[in-house]
Symmetry: C2
Subunit: 119 residues, 2 copies
Amino acid sequence: MPYKERDIEKQYFTIGEVAAQFNVAPSLIRFWETEFEELRPRKSKKGNRLYTPQDIDIFRTIYHLVKERGYTIPGARDMLKQKGPQLKEKIDVIQSLEKIRKFMVTMKKELDAIGKAQG
Amino acid sequence: MPYKERDIEKQYFTIGEVAAQFNVAPSLIRFWETEFEELRPRKSKKGNRLYTPQDIDIFRTIYHLVKERGYTIPGARDMLKQKGPQLKEKIDVIQSLEKIRKFMVTMKKELDAIGKAQG
DNA sequence: ATGTCGCGCTCTTTGTATGGCATGGGAAGG
DNA sequence: CCTTCCCATGCCATACAAAGAGCGCGACAT
């Protein structure tokens, strides 16, 4: 069964979608594009940015360095050049742990609720 | 053999000495003092800052984070609170390696000189 | 079918608020 | 006298945000 063109196209995300996912302004993403050569997504004929999941991984790494660890942009740039790949894996681990943490927090709430009802 | 008072006193460094050691302006050291509570040296009666080697270690750590790794000041502050002690040891290792590197570079120059003389 | 209106999203260019110190002034030691 | 102090002010780059203009697309009328 031949799949449609749109299905192929939708491997891409718009800048607005990426911005929403990270809760940042599109202007920030465009600005970082001028600062990090790793973050240069493909563009449509019109000129709109088309982000692949890999592009988003790169953005996530930069976001982690700049917004969560407090690197300057030059600092993040150096770090990215040196340890790009290893960094991605570390951040994946961190994200997994974050999800587990959230899960456990909700579990704790549930248990507290039961405890109160019985206590 | 009893050691003299001066020998004890000279465990302290002035701001100018510290500044020279790191090749920075005294104003930078004073500014960082307002930003990092870890960097609050003892003061003389007059008010002059008296830096111990430990104070200098702390300064070195901050210097490493901000000037060499490219952290913002808030980023360096967080890092320092979390990993202050471990960080110091890492930086000691880095400094040792730096010295070894310098040594090897000069050795290489010597060897190159010999090679040329004989080749 | 075909304007066309309007809305939302995008684009690039330009503006701007801190951030991160440096400098200058005056006083006070060492 | 040279260095230090504190304080205020100055200042330049960093790190974005806002402004202004241009698609594209669905709705609605023609």
